[in-house]
């Protein structure tokens, strides 16, 4: 244990994902040795991200305004919604230029081990978006691993009676992995070859 402020910093850093106690210590002492100017830049970045960035009220993606760039763009096709786990998946799919519709970001996948059920995800928020009848297709693009598949099954059952076409990305994505790690060509192909799900 260190005195006051140092220990507080180590504790805070240690709460970040992927940062263990040892790394937290290393980062804390690294920061201590830096110029005030460098540290201030980090402080500003942290403050700004909290002040300026929020989550799009429609799709849940990161946004600078109430709506994200994609939801605010009138040229996007409003008849199809692509459901993904995380904002980073939006970035990955945008890279393929294969999709012109809008997104819905769940904020994770169903995983009882991690205490995550459907109510902890933005599932409920999806339903009102489908109520107007404008949306014709929901593309489920959760990760090609067990939790992603379970989430896909859950969603396709939920949407069974809603009156939209529900599709799932074609297989061919590396199984067990993250969507974001699939290369553009593979992901693009998976999009093109998406198939209707029969729940």
């Amino acid at each position: 244990m260190y005195e006051g402020a140092v220990q507080d910093l180590i504790d805070e850093l240690g709460r970040l994902p992927g940062v263990g106690p040892k790394s937290a210590q290393r980062i804390a002492f690294h920061l201590l040795q830096q110029d005030s100017e460098d540290v201030n830049r980090l402080v500003t970045a942290l403050t700004e991200v909290k002040a300026k960035v929020r989550f799009c009220e429609v799709c849940g993606n990161v946004a600078q305004a109430e709506r994200c760039r994609i939801c605010a763009d009138p040229r996007r096709d409003q008849t199809s919604i692509c459901v993904v786990e995380e904002p980073k998946d939006v970035v990955a799919i945008e890279r393929t230029r294969e999709f012109r519709g809008t997104y819905h970001v769940l904020g994770g996948a169903i995983s009882p081990i991690d205490g995550i059920g459907p109510d902890d995800l933005r599932v409920r928020e999806l339903m009102p978006r489908l109520a107007s009848g404008e949306v014709q297709e929901v593309i489920i693009a959760t990760d090609p691993n067990l939790e992603g598949e379970a989430t896909a099954t859950y969603l396709s059952r939920l949407l069974r009676d809603v009156g939209v076409t529900v599709t799932r990305l074609a297989s061919g994505l590396p199984v067990g992995g993250d969507l974001e790690y699939a290369d553009e060509v593979t992901l693009g192909r998976a999009f093109e070859g998406r198939r209707q799900v029969n729940a």
Binding site: P112, I113, G117, P118, D119, L146, E147, T153, Y154, R157
Partner: protein, 415 residues
């Protein structure tokens, strides 16, 4: 196939070891605790990514070392492949095939196949159902490595499902299931948390049944192929007709379980439907206990001699013969399937058998491409076997050759 060379670094008692091997019979002889089993355990690990003695990797790494390396040069159809595993406890192993690293250790499965028989295998007959399930699943993977992936998917699904049963138990226990429809006027609101937990459980049932039925189907076919050889091998070792049998005891509902016990192998779709149906019927019990009660992880293989179950009835010697019969049957199955001999390992087996059984076992394994035998007392191993190959002395973690063997490279005893 055979192992031509084995290299160990910090595996068990060996700081390092280089061991040249030949086809035919090799007998490792040495006093207790000198490191004979450690050598064959390493070869078994290359084949199964697991040890026949311990469930975790920690004991495999030499005390005080951080990681162990096992490398084998495997010859099949005159073609040699190098396979290497780096064992680091608490972390994922790393593997190489030839000179290239592979993405996952399980990608090396199938390079070397072994059938290993050891005193621990007595638990196949006397131990818990988990021992017999492991036997089937390991054999399944040796036969077709892709089952390793199915197995691990199934384990993950099971963990998720059990976690859900535990965490959602308080919500799920409340009252009976209501129909999933909007409440009518004046009707109390459907308990939403409960409904969503039940819907999630349905999703996991679906996945459990999909992967579980595949695994079950594969096990049933394997057992069907194994059983004829089992009686044959038992009889050949014990020199008495025994009617040794193995039947599958399934956790599925009674009607399906009875057909399976009678030796039928239903289609996957039927197994899947049966699993879903049984899951529905045990739901209350599962929620109460917080564990999954249906699926291949709850099944067993009932071994019997004549009319009596082997467990609890068979004598010590009969139990040994039974376990040996299972392993020899597995050997024959792999040989037939692959058109190639797996490596046969007999660890400390001969000391446990009477002289008649020793001679008969020797006759049975005489034509195998490679047999590796360990024995504390060389004289326990029948002469016919020792004459067919080389004897290697193992002393204090050093490997020394005796007459008749290929020259061995010297083994440094320390770093």
């Amino acid at each position: 196939m055979h192992v031509r060379h084995l290299t160990l670094k910090d595996f068990r008692s060996y700081p390092s070891a280089e061991l040249a091997l030949t086809p035919g019979v090799t007998t490792f002889v040495g006093l207790n605790g000198q490191g004979k089993t450690n050598l064959v355990e390493a070869i078994g690990y290359l084949a199964t990514l697991g040890s026949h003695r311990v469930a975790t990797d920690q004991p495999l790494v030499r005390f005080g070392a951080a990681q162990a390396i096992v490398r084998g040069a495997i010859v099949r159809d005159e073609h040699e492949t190098m396979v290497e595993l780096e064992i680091t406890p608490g972390r994922a192993n790393r593997a190489r095939l030839g000179r290239s690293p592979v993405a996952r250790p399980r990608d090396v499965l199938g390079t070397v196949r072994t059938v290993l028989f050891a005193p621990e295998d007595l638990s196949l007959v006397k131990g818990d159902p988990s021992e017999r399930r492991r036997f089937l699943d390991e054999l399944l993977v040796q036969r077709q490595p892709r089952w390793s992936g199915v197995r691990s998917d199934y384990d993950k699904i099971l963990k998720q499902r059990n976690a859900l049963l535990k965490s959602a138990a308080p919500v799920l226990r409340k009252g009976s299931r209501r129909p999933p429809r909007p409440p009518r006027d004046g009707e109390p609101l459907v308990d939403e948390a409960r409904e969503s937990a039940l819907q999630t459980l349905d999703v996991w049932n679906d996945h459990l049944a999909t992967v579980g039925s595949q695994l079950l189907y594969a096990r049933l076919r394997l057992l069907r192929d194994l059983v004829p050889d089992l009686a044959d091998c038992y009889d050949a070792v014990s020199a008495a007709p025994s009617n040794a049998r193995a039947t599958y005891r399934s956790s599925l509902h009674e009607e399906l379980a009875a057909r399976i016990a009678a030796g039928e192998v239903p289609e996957i779709d039927e197994l899947r439907a049966g699993m879903l149906e049984t899951l529905d019927s045990v739901r209350t019990g599962e929620i109460e206990r917080g564990i999954s009660l249906v699926g291949p992880h709850r099944d067993d293989v009932v071994l019997s001699l004549g009319d009596l179950p082997a467990k609890g009835y068979a004598s010590h010697g009969e139990s040994w013969s039974f376990a040996l019969g299972l392993k020899l049957a597995a050997y024959r199955l792999l040989r037939r399937d692959l058109g190639d001999d797996p490596v046969l390992v007999l660890d400390d087996v001969f000391a446990e058998l009477d002289s008649g059984r020793r001679e008969r076992l020797a006759a049975l394994v005489g034509d195998c491409e490679q047999v590796l035998i360990t024995a504390a007392v060389g004289a326990d191993v029948p002469d016919v076997l020792r004459e067919r190959g080389s004897t290697v002395l193992v002393e204090l973690g050093q490997v020394v050759t005796e007459a008749g063997g290929e020259p061995l490279e010297p083994v440094p005893a320390d770093e």
